[in-house]
Symmetry: C3
């Protein structure tokens, strides 16, 4: 595709030669002849000089006159849209593979694809255009929305409802029994039945080998447009509102409330029943013992305001020096007192 | 079911109208007409006033005279028992699905259910009433006890023995080769054969996408009545005694010894060959580098006594102030010395 | 096997009776009659006196004259080699199970084993002697090398290439779409297409339920001879060089660069685009926010040089005492000033 054509498809303008041929896209450091790249953050500005890209997507302030460019207010978003013109994941054609095992009262929408060795229990509803990759297991009573893609080897348990346009990566498990056990006087654990539900709303993406539990009563909920990465744990009854980002290996205990547009970075843990306000962020490895205010950024374990964490993290490295300084102060003061023949009193 | 009937089944007494109809159970904040709830800890006492529950399970000290209640010494346990009267997970009927692939010398007990596309290798024993959900894989030589339930897409490897009345949630892997590699002089890693065994005793529950390894020699063991949550990692040769609780994303390195009734909270990590005494607890995200005394609670990474951790965590937040105070002390003392014309000596 | 025979196979010499019969191998604490064990590190030297092993593998400095021993410069390596003479995991014989579903243009090498209910999409290449255990799913276009073993219930996605002599434990997912989302002005997340590749080189081992993502552009790479444990997360575009060890539950964000012979201990997290130099080590639970120098050992979160971390970890426990000391200094100094009628000025 020529650069000008590509820009037109993105509704963007070109500076420089619109006739260069774009064969593919690449990161700024790797891009070479025939490849389009982009620069967004300051972090990558240093690559602007050295890049061998054929063309660039740039914001309005960035300049490299000898390389033709597409101008965009959001270069990364434009890059994502351009990339979609060159690559779409291979999706299978509609149809039910003969090796799939499908129970009674299963309602399959139009144009669904049910892959080889998929097992669907009784009383399941699958929306139009949904795709189930091989070896997944759908328990009885599950509802899956239209155009939702479930990759290989997933297990979707009873009492789960998944909305439209969702993507579940491989190996993910949704709707399993929450981890509820009541201590007995004999020192054993009595299993709390897990009679609740899981609701995954529209346009949610869930990574690989993630686990989402259903609660004893009530709902576990993943709000519309939220994205969960790989190996994430969502405890029973946790509620995640719309457009959140939960990065890999995050763990929510039971009954956590997460507001809208919250970002939980990798390996964050949130204690049971904590509430995280809208647009809050927790930095990687943060441990959240209790509520987080909307719009704040917290870090560390136990989590504290990010700016405070930056300072205390730097100061912890200086603890040896601090202890030394205090020892010296003690020594000097004692000496002074002795010289002056004045005691502590 | 009427409240009186329900109480009778729990062997509990009713205060107030025993004829109210209980249609279901709910958490105290969500419970409405027709629903039974419970209050246990102080934490929920604030909801006692506002709840719209039809009836409550209460201990003997808690009062809300206008709502009929069931009295119990252990309200949460009574709630769990009541919930079991209203909900039981759907379990499939006995039988072997024709799509299951079953090897030679496989001994299936009475009334087992082998789901669609389950694969059982040779020389496997499965006890009476066991249930294997679809798409699970059982390697050769495995023994699975009576009434044990293995959910979908699990893999149980050779040299594994699972007791009676266990539950394995979906996607869990048991008995894989431990992570044993010996460094060579060439800088490569030589694989240590993993010839040991995994023994999961009776009444163990294991969450989704958890991984339990077998060791080079000897056993990995999960003791009777212990419960493991989702995404837990049990390294080769670790031994967990009875009635432990390992919450989500806990990781045990190799050769860890865990006593009875130990609780490891979410995302805890335990270093190789550490020993954790009976009834000890490690708080969420704790990092345990070495042995933990029985009955103690430790927190933080590296873990320390919980009370000390609470204090140090609070003091870390005050480090900026402490550094400032020490600088001021240095300044004042220097000034004083100058005024007095007395040096450090 | 007799000890002398065993030593000969390891090209080692025997001290003591070469005719004792070795029935099996065991750890030094558990070894009994008929069993061979080894002692390597100082840590186990205390067991040398009490062991009941029939024979031992020892280095040249360690002595226990009444037990016959095999001498080796690397006792652990010799033990691994000896163990391999007694145990090899059961591998299935070549052949394609009739229940496997195999697409078009699939090239199977000589002597491959394709297990029951394996699903292989179109245009897949599988090398000579490769073994795919049951219920695994191979997406279209994947290439798997010779003698590579893929255990049960794995999913290998499009755009993935796996080298020769690799082992993937059960439940592992390779090549899924990276977690790439671009924020929009409306507060939603726009999916970045993930058109890149995953390359797993020869002789790599990957644990159970691990997840390795493919990137938007470019490659995710696991270098020759590297070993990944269970529940590890490799973000899109991360590059791991040869002979690294990534222990359980490690998480790499996107675009991380890991040098050769790096060891990342359990539950370590590495931030996006950080670079870890050759032979560096990160201790368990370490959080790596930025680059790590080659050959260094770092610990803690945020990570610092290991020696500093040891000191600061010890000093953190003494913070209550330090705060108390500073308060006392303030008090004493104020008193002194008052006595001397000298102010701060």
């Amino acid at each position: 595709m020529k650069l000008g054509e590509l820009a037109a498809q993105l509704s963007c303008t070109v500076e420089g030669n619109p006739n260069v041929e774009i064969r593919g896209l690449a990161a700024i450091q790797q891009a070479g002849p025939g490849e389009l790249s982009f620069i967004e953050s300051e972090k990558y500005a240093r690559f602007l000089k050295s890049t061998r890209a054929e063309a660039l997507i740039l914001d309005w302030r960035t300049h490299r006159p000898d390389i033709p460019c597409i101008r965009s207010d959001q270069p990364r978003l434009a890059f994502a849209r351009a990339l979609a013109l060159y690559y779409q994941p291979r999706l299978p054609v509609p149809g039910v593979h003969p090796s799939a095992v499908i129970g009674t009262e299963v309602r399959l929408g139009a144009d669904v694809h049910i892959g080889a060795h998929v097992v669907i229990a009784d009383d399941v509803t699958i929306g139009d255009g949904a795709i189930l990759f091989p070896n997944s297991t759908i328990y009885s009573g599950v509802r899956i929305g239209a155009r939702t893609v479930i990759h290989a080897n997933c297990a979707i348990h009873e009492r789960t409802e998944i909305g439209d346009d969702c993507i579940l990566q491989s190996g993910t498990v949704v709707g399993t029994e929450g981890f509820g056990f009541v201590p007995t006087l004999e020192g054993t654990w009595h299993k709390m039945p897990q009679s609740g539900y899981v609701r995954i709303e529209d346009n949610v993406e869930i990574g690989s080998n993630t686990a989402i539990d259903r609660p004893a009563v009530g709902y576990t909920r993943i709000g519309r447009g939220s994205k969960l990465d790989n190996l994430v744990m969502i405890g029973h009854g946790s509620q995640i509102d719309d457009n959140c980002l939960l990065i890999a290996q995050v763990g929510l205990a039971g009954g956590v409330q997460v507001g809208r547009n919250v970002v939980l970075a990798g390996q964050v843990g949130v204690a049971g029943h904590a509430s995280i306000g809208d647009r809050a962020m927790v930095s990687a490895k943060g441990g959240v013992p209790s509520d987080v205010e909307p719009g704040t950024v917290v870090s560390g374990s136990p989590a504290m305001p990010h700016a405070l964490w930056l300072r205390t993290s730097a100061l912890i490295r200086r603890l040896p020096e601090l202890f030394q300084n205090v020892r010296e102060l003690q020594h000097k003061l004692a000496l002074l007192q002795r010289r002056l023949q004045i005691g502590d009193e």
